[in-house]
Amino acid sequence: MLTLKKVSKSFRTDLVETHALRSLDLTVDEGEFVAVTGPSGSGKTTFLNIAGLLETFTSGQLILDGEDVSNLSDRQRSIIRNQKIGFIFQGFNLIPDLNLYENVEVPLRYRGIKKAERKERIENALENVGLIGRMKHIPSQLSGGQQQRVAIARALAGEPKLLLADEPTGNLDSLMARQVIELMENINDTGTTIVMVTHDAELAHRAHRNIHIMDGEAVDMEQVLSMSQHQRASKTASA
């Protein structure tokens, strides 16, 4: 479903150049539910944004759904985002002036779907997340958990092949977090590939597979353990 080959990304500001990803190699298969973990600043969000065609990268190759999407125009990238990818963010990112119905409608509008079909899809999606009754409410009238469920409905309405979630439960208490994760598991059961960045070890365990990113590189867990021991050792040595 998703393959990154030696993808590097560096941010250049006036003075410093930050290497957010260093030659990242990574594959996610169709139908997988993958959790991405790693320390803060390791490049998880950067990876997710690149995978979701929200950000360009410095070098390497990105293959999405069998198609090389490394060098596409803004328009082509927008179309792929719109048709194949769903996003869920830590901060929900609903549009504050639009009611729930209109929020879920946004990606369908961009896809040019007819009114009747839009209505059906939106109602189904809101039904799925249990918020059909609050269609006319605006986001600020909902709790955080409810807002995140709307964001999920918005991602679902477009029936994406790939769902990218960046710490979807980061702003939620554990009960709400569990509801959200269960919802995502249901979605995964219908065949949608999910890549979720999380700090929560418990949530990460519920995924099929974990990818650990450190300093912009994917590492396997054993190596991680030994590395962190090594780091600890070197820290005590220098102390």
């Binding site: 803004d74 985002r81 963010f89 002036d97 990606p107």
Partner: protein, 435 residues
């Protein structure tokens, strides 16, 4: 998509009412100033009789005395004896000689008190040359004129005052103590600028009574307003003396339909002056000129340079208002970054978002135009109250209203260009983390 964007524009305007109101007012003020000045300018520079302005002419013949005078241009007006002589020519298709005076008008109806009104002695051709519209009746005939019939054509306003607006053909009124029979009533008639009689203001209305020019020797009605210039060192006694003096005071216009007629008329004027020279008149060198309507308006500087500068200043002011709007739109676009990023993530391309924000800018522009139109009306009312004789200039037609909206939408699009471009260039990822 357009309606959707319109809906989004409305939501966004509602969300930041104060900022939106400021943007609308900035555009409205700039537009109002511009449109006030453009309206006056357009009417000043207007062709008052477009379908025949290039075949009607006025002429100046230079009868000034030989004393050195720097002005190369002869007098604007014609003397009575020259007008009488030239009227005899059958080269022009039509000849109008006219001037304006003021006289007391009395109705047979005792309830209407006598009042002073403008009165214009005109040749019969006046009406057909300038194509005056008739509400009732018609102009008098050449026979009426030759046989010194006391007939009159009155303006619609005068008819309203004297007869309450009814068809008054055949009724009698007194003008300066003599009885006249009404043969025609004009409809509203407001050539702008009033090219055929720039005396008394190029933008005044033409109303009152029109009587045959052939009656002038008998009437002793002196010209009121405008200039009468006497060029001889001595002037003769009385009205008859005045009519034979070297005094210029009459307006004279001719219709020359063909190039050939125009050439003939010039030649005729030259021959006339040469012939008069033999009689001891026209001491200067031959200095005859023919002006078409637009040439005459330009020659008389109906649109003066001050006004053109004012027009420039108005556009500069609109520019300042636009810079303000750009600033406001930039500040608004800063708080929009989150929403734009979300829309980009959900599949909106740069172009889609550009379009969305341009629709919003046009809505602001449209609102600014509407408010600007209201303010411009106030501005024009101000011009009317400040300057007399600008009545005709301070009315907007549909064309000017269309220009208002066109200009304001163009302005808001221009103002929206930079902020919109900037917001569409944003890397969406950056503003998705924080909201």
């Amino acid at each position: 998509m357009f309606l959707y964007n319109l809906h989004l524009a409305w939501l966004s305007i509602k969300r930041t009412p104060v900022l939106s109101a400021l943007m609308v007012s900035a555009i409205a003020i700039g537009i109002a100033i511009c449109m006030t000045i453009i309206t006056v300018y357009k009417l000043m520079a207007n062709d008052p009789i477009p379908h025949k302005s290039n075949i009607i002419f006025t002429q100046t013949i230079d009868l000034r005395s030989a004393s050195p005078d720097d002005d190369p241009n002869g007098p604007d007006h014609m003397s009575y004896q020259d007008a009488q002589n030239l009227l005899k020519s059958d080269i022009p298709s039509k000849i109008s000689v006219h001037y304006q005076t003021v006289a007391v008008i009395k109705s047979e109806d005792e309830s209407v008190r006598p009042f002073r009104s403008r009165v214009r002695p005109v040749t019969a051709d006046f009406f057909s040359l300038f194509e005056t519209p008739f509400l009732f009746g018609n102009q008098w005939t050449a026979d009426d004129e030759d046989s010194l019939q006391q007939v009159v054509v009155i303006s619609r306003a005068l008819n309203l005052r004297l007869f309450g607006g009814i068809n008054s053909i055949g009724q009698q009124i007194q003008v300066a103590g003599r009885f006249y029979k009404i043969v025609g009533v004009l409809d509203d008639w407001t050539p702008t600028p009033r090219f055929f009689e720039l005396d008394g203001g190029a933008f005044s209305e033409t109303e009152g009574a029109f009587i045959p020019f052939s009656l002038v020797p008998a009437l002793e009605l002196r010209k009121s307003g405008g200039s009468t210039v006497c060029h001889a060192s001595e002037t003769k006694e009385g009205w008859q003396g005045f009519l034979t003096d070297e005094c210029t005071w009459l307006h004279m216009w001719v219709q020359l339909d063909t190039q050939e007629q125009q050439e003939q008329w010039k030649e005729h004027l030259d021959n006339y002056v040469k012939q008069q020279k033999e009689l001891g008149r026209f001491p200067r060198e031959l200095n005859n000129r023919l002006h078409s309507v637009m040439q005459w308006l330009e020659f008389k500087r109906v649109v003066n340079n001050d006004y053109i500068m004012l027009l420039g200043l108005a556009f500069m002011f609109l520019g300042v208002c636009l810079f303000n709007t750009v600033g406001l739109m930039l500040s608004q676009s800063l708080r929009r970054r989150g929403e734009v990023s979300v829309r980009r993530a959900l599949g909106g391309s740069k172009l889609t978002l550009f379009y969305q924000h341009m629709v919003e800018a046009s809505v602001i522009g449209l609102a600014g135009g509407a408010l600007g139109l209201v303010l411009a009306q106030a501005g024009l009312a101000g011009v009317r109250s400040l300057y007399r004789g600008f009545d005709l200039l301070t009315q907007m037609n549909w064309q000017l209203i269309a220009i208002t909206f066109g200009l304001s939408i163009l302005s808001s699009l221009l103002a929206g260009l930079l902020p919109t471009w900037r917001i569409c260039q944003l890397a969406p990822a950056q503003y998705l983390k924080t909201q």
